[in-house]
Symmetry: C3
Subunit: 166 residues, 3 copies
Amino acid sequence: MSKAEFDQRLADLKIELPAACQPAGNYRPALLIDNYLYVSGHTQDDAISEGFSVGKVGDEVMFEQAYKAARDIGLAILASVKQALGGDLSRVERLVSATGVVNAVESFTQHPQVMNGFSDLMAQVFGKERGVGTRSATGVASLPGGVSVEVTQCIFKIKAPLETLE
Amino acid sequence: MSKAEFDQRLADLKIELPAACQPAGNYRPALLIDNYLYVSGHTQDDAISEGFSVGKVGDEVMFEQAYKAARDIGLAILASVKQALGGDLSRVERLVSATGVVNAVESFTQHPQVMNGFSDLMAQVFGKERGVGTRSATGVASLPGGVSVEVTQCIFKIKAPLETLE
Amino acid sequence: MSKAEFDQRLADLKIELPAACQPAGNYRPALLIDNYLYVSGHTQDDAISEGFSVGKVGDEVMFEQAYKAARDIGLAILASVKQALGGDLSRVERLVSATGVVNAVESFTQHPQVMNGFSDLMAQVFGKERGVGTRSATGVASLPGGVSVEVTQCIFKIKAPLETLE
């Protein structure tokens, strides 16, 4: 799939990416090394500037809001990936791994279902073969800015440039 | 060591692997890419369907139960690794890294000792040279299903196929 | 930059590394595999034996202490990296990723600023191009020994030996 075909695919899916976010500290949002793209922690406010979820899931934040937060984080990550790849998401070969954390009350048990918000988006964008990778989802005691969900790391395999002999 | 020799080694160690688990969400239990096997988060109920530990370590769950949970998780991970490698664990070159989390009371301090349940099993199965890798062990506020321990990610190096020129 | 030049650079920066630490369990502090160095979880007491921070950040531990803890952890990690590379830190090509966790009260929100203690050190030691990688910083409920901060994993790219054709 070419860059133009991939952009058309996103348009057909009615998926619009936010602007690439600024890092919250002394780090890079994403780093390409040896055909692997490492992605830093992203939160929902990297995708939307208003209406993002703050607070404990299972208390003031409902499950549906947490699922949406995970999906919005996926959109912010795609924006960072696109920027790191010179604007061309079609260079992604596949999602390798992702780590999600939920700022939840101690009795919360549905971390995997929240993280599906991220995973369902990736499967939609890259297809079930290339968009579904390995994953974990656990519960943290606090998060930057008090947000409800974070995807702390993900790794994508990137296609080798055509001119490269491997 | 061949597949048959490795299976004999497990039998000699009286180590029996559970059936490979089903993922709890939209992800793969393990993914082989470029001779690295990435493994998703696994919990004790991926190894045993009854008698797994639920609740806070340091409160209703004792240290010995948490150590056993970490070991059982190692067995579940070996089952996923075996499945991803076409049934042949002898293709594992070595353990590279593992990340463990303990659903513990805030005063709990023995996370590394709990995680040894996983690490001791890997050292037993693959030997001290190949079975001991890098690691972390920290404390989380909540876990899927309320379980006491999770190994959230591990990475194994896999031997290159004989027919591959590197 | 040669080993001698790198050692001089550290001396000019007045950065003195601690002795390489002993692992707290059945694992290796660092592992070199295919030109990537995986580093295990490190805590401040891996760098200094007295005066390290124990307890919750945002309660009995102040922000400035947590920032210093993250920086001290960076020094301990550099000691482990140096040992794994046969004493030669100039073999580091770049920092790829790092994961930090803060043992904080639930209302704490400045995890990225704490983790900057680690990241600022890496930028100082390796320069902004090679020392700034991807990262996350979240809040945990408990840590080994009750310490306030841990860098749970980091990955460095290591230069290929001169004799290797890639």
